[in-house]
């Protein structure tokens, strides 16, 4: 599927051109993107570390998730919005960069991991909500999530070097 025509059109829209050619617009959006990603990774890590059983051990998993995930969702929305704007400004270029493609693939896997956890694994939460020793599926969800989001950050940084 050749999306080059779409990406070419995208980067020629008025706002994409403005971001690409402006002196401060790109750095500004990029800084908000980095800020959103740090909030996203950090808050996800709070939940993941509880799933793995190494932090926030004094509270039920459901409490940790209920308190923290609203912040995570806001951070994700901001990261996605700013990410979309940044991508659009150099769409054709980014679409050919290996670290960007890797970042999008890892992001997809991370979202699938979240989906599997919330839709399937967490159905049995009643049995392990207050435990530190949780089923392997739960621990794995946390460990995989943490690993993926750190790898996503690494790929994001790597984009700037190619």
């Amino acid at each position: 599927m050749d999306l080059t025509a779409f990406f070419t059109w995208l980067q020629q829209t008025g706002w994409a051109v403005a971001i690409r050619q402006g002196e401060t617009l790109f750095p500004l959006i990029e800084s908000v993107h980095v800020l959103a990603i740090t909030a996203l990774l950090g808050t996800i890590a709070i939940v993941d570390l509880r799933l793995i059983g190494v932090a926030s051990r004094q509270q039920p998993i459901s409490t940790t998730m209920a308190e923290v995930l609203p912040l995570t969702r806001i951070a994700f929305a901001l990261a996605a919005l700013t990410g979309g704007l940044l991508f659009a400004s150099h769409a054709v270029d980014y679409s050919h960069k290996a670290p960007f493609i890797a970042k999008m693939l890892l992001l997809s896997v991370a979202l699938i991991n979240i989906g599997v956890f919330h839709l399937i694994t967490a159905r049995g939460i009643g049995a392990w909500d207050n435990e530190l020793k949780v089923p392997l599926a739960v621990k794995s969800a946390g460990a995989v999530s943490l690993g993926l989001w750190i790898a996503i950050v690494a790929c994001g940084r790597w984009i700037g070097f190619v």
């Binding site: 740090t38 709070i46 409490t63």
Partner: protein, 171 residues
């Protein structure tokens, strides 16, 4: 900075850039991106810890725990992350001294870090003696709110300054 200071800072950067350690960092391609990634992950720890502690103060999040409980849970993470940031930051400076040390945005970032550290200490210390210190009076509650808002702004400023270093490098 006076003209004389600027010259000696640039001389120091030139000297540092030529040291074996700096050359090693410069020429081993994976070092700077990897160290920067660890730097960013550590910033994520600080940003999220500061968010939960200060948003709680402002009544916007983490309602089931007290200020003292949240401080005990999350402030140690900030201190540990700052240690990692000092280490990774030093490696980045040694690798690219000219990119950072004479850079005004980098210098601003360092000042903001000191301010953030001071504010965090200011918030944390009284809580150790008295878990309800910041709730005890209207003045204390207002002060905690101010510390929360200013701290969050400073941390955001640090993230922005960190990204902007790359855009402020002298030609």
């Amino acid at each position: 900075m006076s003209e004389g200071d600027r010259v000696s800072l640039r001389e120091f950067c030139a000297w540092l850039e030529a040291t074996p350690l700096s050359l090693l960092i410069q020429t081993t391609t994976w070092v700077i991106p990897t160290v920067q990634t660890i730097h960013i992950v550590s910033i994520a720890v600080i940003v999220s810890s500061a968010l939960v502690v200060h948003l709680h103060t402002l009544g916007l999040a983490m309602h089931s725990q007290s200020s003292a409980q949240l401080a005990r849970r999350f402030l140690p993470w900030i201190w540990t992350a700052l240690g990692v940031l000092l280490l990774t930051g030093t490696i980045l400076i040694i690798g690219e001294p000219g990119r950072s040390l004479p850079n005004f945005v980098f210098q601003l970032k360092m000042v903001l870090v000191l301010v953030a550290v001071a504010l965090t200490l200011c918030y944390q210390q009284p809580l150790r003696r008295d878990p309800v210190f910041w709730n005890a009076s209207r003045t204390r509650r207002a002060s905690a709110n101010i510390i929360a808002v200013v701290s969050l702004c400073v941390w955001v400023g640090i993230v922005f300054a960190g990204r902007w270093i790359a855009y402020a490098i002298d030609g």
